[in-house]
C-alpha cells in the first residue's frame, strides 16, 4: 500500500523547499522528495564560497525559510536549519521516476520500486538536474565532468573546458592558474558570455594562459588503457581538420535543458519544440494537468527569491486560498501618494492609459518596472532636477504637467503634459542635465533609475522607438531652435536619422560633399585635416555638439574629416531640410554663422600649432573621448613624490585608487591609471547589486553594497578598478612624524587588510570639500583634472 500525502513536492531546490516547509508550517500533509542525500543539489554544487545573490533586492521574501545574499554555505546552512525547525518531511535519496494521474490522485514511482500517492504534485525540479552532455561517444567516461565544485582541487593537470558560456569561461579562467587549460568554442567568438567574462577569456587567450580552439566541436572522447600517462584524449573537429588532445580532465559546461522527456511523461505539455522552452502554467502555477503544479526555474522563474515565494504561494493556492503577489504591498506603498489611489491594479492601468510610452509592456513588466521606480508628487514650482546636475533618472508624467526652463536668462519655459516624459537626454548621452525642470500643478511623476530604464529600452523596441523620436525632436529644438514651434521643425525632424559609429569610424571626409549635419548624442568626435600629408587634429567635439554645418553654410565641400573618438551615436540631419529651416529662421542662421566663424578661427590657431592636435590625438587614443573628468599629470612639473597617491590612500581608507606611474605619456602629458568617470561607465554594466552610481556632480562611485564579484574590474577598459580588502588602521600622522610609528602616509603595500575584497575606484573625493585630494595635494601643480570641454584649450596650452 502506497503511502498517501496531500501534497508531494518533487525536488528540494529553493522553490520545492519553500513549498514543503510552508506545507509543514501549515500542518498540511506533505512529503518532499529529493533524489540526492542533501537538499538543493544545484546550489549545493556551486563553487565553494560562491556568493549567492538575493535579487530582486526590493522584493520581500515570503517563505518560512530564511534567505539572504551570502555565501553558498550560509544559504544552505539556513535552509537546513529551517527544514529541521519546521519539521518538514523530507525523503532523501528518493528519485522520482514517474508520475501518473489515477482518478483524483497521483501515483508517484520512486527509483527502487517504492510508490507514493498524493492529491497534488508540486514539480520544483529545476533545470540543473539535467545538464546538457557532450552527446558524443565517451561522454560518460570518468574523466569527463559537467560540473566544477572547487577549481583549487586540481593542479598541474591538462584540462579541456568545452563551452563558451559564462560557466565555461569562469571555470577555464579559475583553473588556468594552476593547470594547462584548453577551451573549446563551437563558434568564432564568446558572444554568449557576459562582457566581463568575454574580456577575461580573451585576455587569458591573448596572454597565452589559455589555449582556445574556435569553430571546433567535440568528435569523441577516448580513454587510454590503465597505466598510461593521461587517462584519455579528446578528439575535436576543427576548421583545419581533426585535433587530438591528451588530457587529464574534460569539463563540459553546456548549460542545462528542461528534463523534457520526464516532464512530458507525466502528461505536461510544452508550448513548442524548442529544447529550452518551459511548460505553460496558469497564474496559480498549475500546469495543463489539474493538480500538477510547476514552480521555480522549470516554470520560468530562475531567481531564487522568486522561486521561494512561489513555493509559499503554491501551497496557499492548493489550500484554496488567494494570495496577492509578493510585490503588492510594495507597489501599494509606492502608489499611495497618487491622488485617487484605490488598488494597485487600477493604478497600473491608469499609468498605462496615461503614459503611451508604457502602454506596450505587459503588466508583469510594468510591475517590475514600478518596483524599481518611484512615484513622485512634487508641489507646484518644486525643482525636479536642475540644469548641469549629473543625475540620469527618467521621468514619465502620469498626471499634471512640468515646465522645462529652456532659457535660464529669460526664464522661458516649455510645458509638458500628462503622458509625456523627460530626462531622456541625460539617460542617453550620459551627460549633465541640459535644462532645469520645475513641477507644474497636480504633478504625478514616475522616476525610473537608469538601469531599469535601459533594461526596458533594450527589451521593448516600441519604447526605444518612442524615446528616440522624442530625443531627436528635443535635441534639435534645444540645440538649434528653442523658440521655434515643433511644427516648423517637422521637416528637419522627419528626415533626421540616428546613426552609430564605432570608435575610429569616419563620419565624413575632407573634400566630401556636405549633405548633412551631425548632432552628437553619445560619444565624441575628433575633427582633423590633412596638412602636408599628415593628419592634424583640429578639435574635439563632445556629445551635445554638432559638426558639419560649415559645408551647409558656406561652400559645399567638407573642410575637415570627422572621426568617432569612441563608439558614437549621432543624429544625422538632412542638409536640404536644414537649409530650408535656415531660410526661415534668420536668427538661427546668424547664430550658426557666428559659431562658424569662431570655429574657423580656432581651427586656424590649431593649424598653426599642430602639436596641440597631437596632444588631442594622444588623449583620445587613451579613451579621453568618453571621459567626463580625467586626471592628467604634467610631467614637466611632476617631481614623482607620489603625494597624490598617498593622498588618495589616506582619504580612502588606506587604499589608493590611483597609480601615478602607470599609464602612457606623450610629450609631457601623462595619463595615470585613474578613473575617467566615463559618460556611459563600462563598470556600471553587470554590477549584480547595482552598487555603481553616478553622483549629482558626475562622480562615478561604488557604494557599500559591493559584493566583490569583480565584474567592474573586468569591464573597465582602463584598468582603474581593483579589488582590495579594508586596510588596517594606522597610527596617526603626528605619531609617525614624531615617533616613527606605523608605516607612514600612503598605501601600506605590506598590510594584508581585513574582511572581504571589494571593488575600489576613484570617487573624485565626492565626500570631501575642496575637490579631489590628488589635485589638491600636488605640491607643484602637476596634477590637474579636466573635462572634455576643456580638452582643446588644454591641448593648445601643452603644445
Amino acid at each position: 500500500m502506497a503511502e498517501f500525502f496531500k501534497v508531494a513536492v518533487v525536488g528540494s531546490g529553493p522553490a520545492g523547499l519553500s513549498a514543503a516547509a510552508h506545507a509543514a508550517e501549515k500542518g498540511v500533509s506533505h512529503v518532499l522528495l529529493e533524489a540526492e542525500a542533501h537538499l538543493s543539489n544545484t546550489i549545493f554544487r556551486y563553487q565553494k564560497g560562491k556568493h549567492v545573490m538575493a535579487e530582486p533586492d526590493v522584493l520581500p521574501l515570503r517563505s518560512p525559510l530564511k534567505f539572504d545574499a551570502g555565501s553558498r554555505e550560509e544559504v544552505l546552512g539556513a535552509w537546513d536549519k529551517g527544514i529541521k525547525e519546521t519539521k518538514t518531511n523530507v525523503f532523501y535519496k528518493n528519485e522520482v521516476t514517474g508520475i501518473q494521474k489515477e482518478g483524483d490522485r497521483f501515483r508517484i514511482s520512486i527509483k527502487g520500486g517504492a510508490e507514493i500517492e498524493a492529491e497534488a504534485v508540486v514539480l520544483g525540479i529545476g533545470l540543473q538536474g539535467n545538464l546538457r552532455k557532450l552527446g558524443t561517444e565517451g561522454e560518460d567516461l570518468p574523466f569527463v565532468q559537467y560540473q566544477l565544485d572547487d577549481p583549487d582541487e586540481y593542479e598541474g593537470e591538462t584540462i579541456v573546458v568545452v563551452g563558451a558560456g559564462d560557466a565555461a569561461i569562469e571555470n577555464a579562467v579559475s583553473l588556468s592558474g594552476h593547470n594547462t587549460v584548453i577551451i573549446v568554442n563551437r563558434r568564432d567568438e564568446f558572444a554568449r558570455a557576459k562582457d566581463g567574462n568575454n574580456q577575461a577569456i580573451l585576455k587569458a587567450i591573448d596572454d597565452g594562459r589559455i589555449e582556445c580552439y574556435y569553430n571546433s566541436n567535440v568528435d569523441r572522447v577516448e580513454a587510454y588503457p590503465d597505466g598510461s600517462e593521461k587517462p584519455g584524449k579528446i578528439v575535436l573537429n576543427t576548421d583545419e581538420g581533426q585535433a587530438e588532445i591528451d588530457c587529464d580532465r574534460i569539463i563540459a559546461r553546456l548549460g542545462a535543458i528542461p528534463p523534457r522527456r520526464f516532464v512530458e511523461s507525466t502528461g505536461i505539455e510544452f508550448p513548442n519544440k524548442d529544447p529550452s522552452s518551459v511548460p505553460a502554467i496558469s497564474p496559480k502555477y498549475e500546469s495543463n494537468v489539474p493538480g500538477m503544479y510547476i514552480i521555480g526555474a522549470l516554470g520560468g522563474y530562475p531567481l531564487i527569491k522568486q522561486a521561494m515565494n512561489q513555493g509559499y504561494e503554491v501551497i496557499e493556492f492548493i489550500e484554496g486560498n488567494d494570495v496577492e503577489p509578493a510585490d503588492e504591498p510594495l507597489l501599494r506603498d509606492k502608489f499611495k501618494e497618487m491622488p485617487g489611489f484605490t488598488t494597485v491594479h487600477d493604478a497600473l492601468v491608469k499609468v498605462q492609459n496615461n503614459v503611451p510610452l508604457l502602454a506596450p509592456i505587459t503588466e508583469l513588466q510594468l510591475r517590475e518596472f514600478m518596483l524599481d521606480s518611484d512615484v513622485r508628487t512634487p508641489a507646484k514650482g518644486d525643482v525636479i532636477f536642475a540644469r548641469n546636475d549629473y543625475t540620469n533618472t527618467f521621468f514619465s508624467i502620469v498626471e499634471g504637467s512640468v515646465d522645462i526652463v529652456v532659457d535660464e536668462a529669460s526664464g522661458k519655459t516649455i510645458t509638458l503634459g500628462a503622458g509625456e516624459f523627460f530626462g531622456e537626454m541625460s539617460l542617453i548621452s550620459g551627460r549633465r542635465r541640459s535644462a532645469t525642470v520645475l513641477a507644474g500643478q497636480g504633478c504625478v511623476l514616475i522616476e525610473t533609475p537608469r538601469r531599469s530604464m535601459n533594461k526596458l529600452i533594450n527589451s521593448v523596441d516600441a519604447v526605444k522607438r518612442v524615446i528616440d523620436e522624442a530625443f531627436i525632436l528635443r535635441a534639435i529644438q534645444q540645440r538649434f531652435a528653442p523658440d521655434t514651434p515643433a511644427e516648423r521643425l517637422q521637416g528637419v525632424v522627419s528626415t533626421a536619422k540616428l546613426e552609430s559609429f564605432r570608435a575610429g569610424d569616419i563620419l565624413f571626409e575632407e573634400g566630401d560633399d556636405g549633405d548633412c549635419l551631425h548632432l552628437v548624442r553619445v560619444g565624441s568626435l575628433t575633427i582633423s585635416r590633412n596638412i602636408g600629408g599628415r593628419d592634424v587634429v583640429l578639435s574635439y567635439v563632445p556629445a551635445g555638439n554638432y559638426v558639419g554645418e560649415m559645408a551647409l553654410l558656406g561652400d559645399n565641400k567638407r573642410s575637415a574629416t570627422a572621426k568617432a573618438a569612441v563608439n558614437t551615436e549621432t543624429i544625422r540631419l538632412d542638409g536640404e531640410a536644414f537649409k530650408e529651416l535656415l531660410r526661415h529662421e534668420g536668427e538661427l542662421r546668424l547664430r550658426l554663422q557666428a559659431e562658424y566663424r569662431q570655429r574657423a578661427a580656432a581651427n586656424l590657431r590649431m593649424e598653426a600649432t599642430p602639436e596641440g592636435g597631437d596632444v588631442i590625438s594622444f588623449l583620445v587614443s587613451q579613451g579621453v573621448g568618453e571621459a567626463t573628468d580625467i586626471l592628467l599629470i604634467d610631467e614637466a612639473l611632476c617631481v614623482r613624490c607620489d603625494n597624490c597617491e598617498k593622498a588618495c590612500a589616506e582619504t580612502h581608507g588606506g587604499t589608493s585608487r590611483l597609480n601615478r606611474e602607470a599609464g602612457p605619456t606623450y610629450a609631457t602629458v601623462h595619463v595615470p591609471t585613474s578613473c575617467r568617470h566615463c559618460e556611459h561607465p563600462h563598470c556600471m554594466k553587470e554590477c549584480p547589486p547595482d552598487a555603481i552610481h553616478r553622483a549629482p556632480n558626475g562622480e562615478v562611485f561604488i557604494a557599500d553594497n559591493c559584493i566583490g564579484c569583480g565584474n567592474c574590474e573586468r569591464n573597465c577598459p582602463y584598468g582603474v578598478i581593483h579589488m582590495a580588502k579594508k586596510a588596517p588602521k594606522k597610527p596617526g600622522l603626528l605619531q609617525w612624524l614624531l615617533f616613527g610609528r606605523g608605516p607612514g602616509p600612503g598605501e601600506d603595500k605590506s598590510a594584508t587588510g581585513s574582511g572581504e575584497k571589494k571593488a575600489v575606484k576613484c570617487d573624485m573625493c565626492k565626500g570631501i570639500a575642496g575637490g579631489p585630494a590628488c589635485v589638491r595635494t600636488c605640491p607643484t601643480g602637476a596634477a590637474i583634472r579636466i573635462s572634455p570641454e576643456d580638452l582643446s584649450s588644454y591641448a593648445t596650452s601643452k603644445a
Binding site: V639, R640, E661
Partner: protein
C-alpha cells in the same frame, strides 16, 4: 597655462614676499636706533618675531603636506608661499641681525637657517629642471618596464653565451651579477652601473679575434681572452656571428641600464636635498629656541 607652485594665483606669494621685503628694508633704513641697528631694538624684535613665526610656519609645511583631508588652500599654494616667504627670510633675518655676527648661538641659528634656505633653493632648482629630463630619459616607458627588459636581455645573453663557450658564459654571468642599479646614496646620485665592463671585455675579444685572424698573439694580461679567441678562430664564422649578437644584446642592455641609472639619479637628486633641508630645519628650531631663550635670560 597650467598653474605651478611658481606662478600660483598669479604670483600671489611672490608679491606678498616682495611687499614684506620692501617694508622691512624701508623700516630698516628709516629706523635709526641709538646703538646702531641690532636685534634688540623695537624693529629688531619685530623682525625677529616675524622671522621666528615664519620659520615655525615654514616648518609646518611638512605637516600640512601630509594632512590629506585638510582643505585649507591646496598644497600647491602652500608650497608657493613656502618658497617665496621662505626666501624673504634671508632679508628679514639678516636685517634682524643688524649685521652683527659672532661666534655665538645666535649666529649658529642664522647660519643654519641660511643652509636650510639654500638647500631649499637647490630643491626648487631640481623641481624645475629634473622632471622634464626624467620624462625625456624614460622615452615613454616606465622604470619597471626597463628593468623587466634588462632581465629579459640578461636571459638572452646567457643563452647565447652558453652556446658560445664556458668562458664567455662566465663573463656574462659576472655581468649579470654585477648589474646593480640603485644601491647606496652615492651610486644613486652618480648614476653608476656595471654593464660596461662585460661589454668592454666582449668587444675586446671580438676585435682581437678579427685582428689576429686566429693567430696566437700572446699577451700576458688577457690569457682568458686568448683562449677564447683561439677557440673561436678555429670554429669559424658562425661563432663570430653569435658573438656579435651577444655584443648587440649587451649594448642594448648597457643603454637601458644607463637609462635606468639616470632615472634613479634624477629621482635621487629630487629627493636628496630634503635629507639636508629637513634635519637642518630641526637643528635650526633647536638653535632658534636657544637663541630666543638666551636673549631673554641673558639680556
Amino acid at each position: 597655462m597650467q598653474e605651478s607652485f611658481i606662478n600660483y594665483a598669479r604670483f600671489r606669494y611672490l608679491w606678498l614676499a616682495l611687499i614684506l621685503l620692501l617694508g622691512s628694508i624701508v623700516a630698516y633704513f628709516w629706523h635709526e636706533p641709538f646703538e646702531g641697528p641690532n636685534g634688540g631694538s623695537w624693529l629688531g624684535y619685530t623682525l625677529g618675531t616675524i622671522g621666528a613665526l615664519l620659520i615655525i610656519w615654514l616648518t609646518f609645511f611638512g605637516y600640512r603636506k601630509r594632512t590629506y583631508n585638510n582643505t585649507m588652500g591646496n598644497v600647491r599654494g602652500w608650497l608657493s608661499a613656502h618658497v617665496y616667504l621662505g626666501t624673504s627670510l634671508i632679508v628679514i633675518a639678516t636685517l634682524h641681525t643688524g649685521f652683527q655676527f659672532g661666534w655665538n648661538i645666535h649666529t649658529v641659528a642664522y647660519v643654519l637657517m641660511m643652509i636650510v634656505i639654500l638647500s631649499g633653493f637647490f630643491g626648487v632648482y631640481t623641481y624645475l629642471r629634473y622632471p622634464t629630463l626624467m620624462t625625456r630619459n624614460r622615452q615613454d616607458t616606465s622604470r619597471q618596464a626597463m628593468l623587466d627588459e634588462i632581465a629579459e636581455l640578461d636571459e638572452e645573453c646567457l643563452k647565447l653565451a652558453d652556446q658560445l663557450s664556458p668562458k664567455i658564459h662566465q663573463i656574462v654571468v659576472r655581468s649579470v651579477q654585477n648589474t646593480r642599479l640603485g644601491g647606496g646614496v652615492w651610486s644613486q646620485l652618480t648614476s653608476h652601473d656595471a654593464t660596461a665592463t662585460a661589454l668592454e671585455q666582449t668587444k675586446n675579444m671580438l676585435e682581437e679575434m678579427e685582428a689576429s685572424g686566429g693567430e696566437r698573439q700572446a699577451t700576458a694580461e688577457m690569457p682568458t681572452m686568448f683562449a677564447m679567441v683561439d677557440f673561436l678562430a678555429g670554429a669559424g664564422g658562425e661563432e663570430s656571428e653569435k658573438l656579435r649578437n651577444l655584443l648587440d644584446l649587451l649594448g642594448r642592455k648597457k643603454a637601458l641600464a644607463s637609462r635606468v641609472a639616470k632615472d634613479i639619479q634624477y629621482q635621487a637628486l629630487m629627493e636628496i636635498w630634503l635629507y639636508f633641508h629637513v634635519p637642518i630645519t630641526f637643528a635650526l628650531l633647536g638653535a632658534l629656541t636657544a637663541h630666543v631663550v638666551s636673549v631673554f635670560f641673558y639680556w
